[in-house]
């Protein structure tokens, strides 16, 4: 396993305060990593910094040795925490866009997943429910053969039945040398697929450990540990 992502003294300040503060973090390839933390802990900010959607206040983030740019964007597949595709477009048109720009996009995989979830490719996004739109976005993101998948709340808006399919999809659709970084509050739903967790609190790294170590050392599940640590 090699270092896929590295944050060095990474900080991001918003008007209201620090979202990330002096974060040092290394992620290796071939892992499924849960990015956990309470609201406002800096999870979404970190994912945006990795994807070049925010400029760091100080420090740096490197993906395979490169700062966010053309090279990193061609190997990172990012799912934001909101619907971000043009609602007027048909699913087929969006697939064409992805296939045009991302060399690692697998069109047949996308159509196969759409069929499995009973989503009509000829439909426009605006005619779909919010949950279905989120499924479409996840399908597009997981249809890439990326090195790093950044998924921000991928299962928050979908029904429990679809969650199982989505998690199976995530498991079945990533290469062994790829890493998946999943930010979520629904820890119980995903902890069975995680190799490692990164826990943020107030923009700082609270914990980075393998799931197995946490279970062995603390004798509790990740969900229980999270509830104990962040008990209000």
């Amino acid at each position: 396993m090699s270092t896929l992502l590295e944050c060095k003294n990474l900080s991001k300040r918003y008007e209201k305060g620090m979202a990330l503060s002096d974060l040092n973090l290394k992620l290796e390839s071939g892992r499924i990593i849960g990015l956990l933390g309470p609201n406002g802990s800096g999870k979404t900010t970190l994912l945006k910094l990795i994807n070049g959607l925010l400029v760091p206040t100080s420090g740096e983030v490197r993906i395979l040795g490169n700062t966010p740019g053309v090279e990193t964007k061609s190997v990172i597949s990012y799912l934001p925490d909101q619907t971000y595709l043009s609602a007027n477009q048909k699913v087929t048109q969006i697939i064409d866009t992805f296939a045009d720009f991302y060399a690692d996009f697998d069109r047949s995989r996308a159509y196969h997943m759409l069929q499995k979830l009973n989503i009509q490719p000829s439909e426009r996004l605006k005619t779909m429910s919010k949950g279905t739109q989120e499924k479409v976005q996840l399908i597009l993101v997981m249809s890439r053969r990326a090195k790093l998948y950044c998924l921000d709340e991928p299962i928050a808006g979908v029904d429990p039945a679809a969650r199982d399919y989505i998690l199976t999809t995530i498991l079945n659709n990533y290469a062994e040398d790829a890493t998946i970084l999943i930010s979520t509050h629904l820890i119980q739903d995903i902890e069975n697929i995680l190799d490692e967790v990164v826990v943020l609190q107030n923009g700082k790294l609270k914990l980075q450990a393998s799931v197995e170590d946490i279970r062995m050392e603390r004798g509790v599940s990740i969900d229980t540990m999270f509830r104990e640590v962040f008990k209000c």
Binding site: Y14, G52, K73, S74, T97
Partner: protein, 271 residues
């Protein structure tokens, strides 16, 4: 990748804009049959505008307003699309595509430019339809020949100069629009209002700069003197002022584009 970006930019809203311009051309064609006889008659008898021509005048006003509205709508659609795809939710896709910020700006600017040219072309066609076969058309062409001779240049050069100046004016307008949006979106809230305010501030500053240039050249005194004369040609210094404002426009275009490139690559914050 640039070609793909240009294709994506064009296909995103060409249908609506083509429909809008096709509608305007249809209106112009209808206007040609209804209004052209009136225009010809009004030009031929400039002192004889009867009361019965009032409906024609209303139609003519509506016709001109329609042309302005389509042109304004095109600009509004393109600027709003820029905002939406750069700083709105769609910005998440735009800025995660494996392309450079310069490529994104260029593709958007190019398609905006194409729509500006289409706009100009439609306006010129509509004017031609209105004035076709009227004595005014022949008079205008003769005037252009005389003006070129008066300025000591060939007619072809004058046409080339006007087209070149129009291209510069379009690039200037687009780069100013984009620069205003980019600066406006540096604000954390009320980004659209901030963009509009920025646009007007830039406009005021550039107008002040242009006025200073006018004051520094011989053009303004010549204009004041010429107001007492009945010459059909622009006063002396006309060429100079185009030269000075042309240079100013090029410099400002470079500034606007540099600022836009800097903000979209170094100051991007999709919060």
């Amino acid at each position: 990748m640039l070609g793909k970006l240009i294709k994506r930019e064009w296909t995103s809203n060409y249908k609506g804009l083509l429909l809008l311009h096709a509608g305007l051309l249809l209106l112009c064609t209808i206007g040609h049959f209804i209004l052209a006889p009136y225009v010809h008659s009004a030009i031929a008898n400039s002192n004889d505008v009867s009361v019965s021509s009032a409906p024609y005048m209303i139609l003519m006003t509506a016709y001109i307003l329609a042309i302005i509205a389509v042109s304004f709508a095109t600009q509004l659609i393109m600027v709003f699309r820029y905002y939406r795809t750069m700083y709105g939710k769609e910005g998440y896709l735009t800025h995660t595509l494996p392309v450079t910020p310069v490529q994104i700006l260029f593709s958007k600017g190019l398609i905006f430019f194409v729509w500006y040219v289409i706009d100009f072309a439609v306006i010129i066609v509509s004017a031609c339809l209105l004035f076709s076969a009227s004595p005014f058309q022949a008079e205008l062409l003769t005037y252009v020949d005389d003006l070129a001779a008066h300025m000591g240049i060939s007619t072809g050069f004058l046409y080339g100069f006007v087209i070149g100046y129009m291209i510069l004016a379009i690039i200037y307008a687009i780069s100013m629009f984009y620069c205003s949006v980019n600066i406006g979106c540096l604000f954390h809230t009320h980004k659209i209002v901030a963009s509009i305010v920025t646009y007007f501030l830039i406009y005021i500053v550039t107008q002040i700069l242009s006025t200073i240039i006018l004051m520094c050249t011989s053009y303004l005194p010549n204009v004041l003197n010429a107001s007492n004369q009945s010459s059909p040609y622009p006063p002396d210094g006309f060429k100079d002022i185009f030269g000075y404002t042309g240079i100013l426009s090029v410099v400002l275009c470079i500034v606007f584009i540099t600022v836009s490139g800097y903000i979209s690559s170094r100051k991007l914050n999709l919060d």
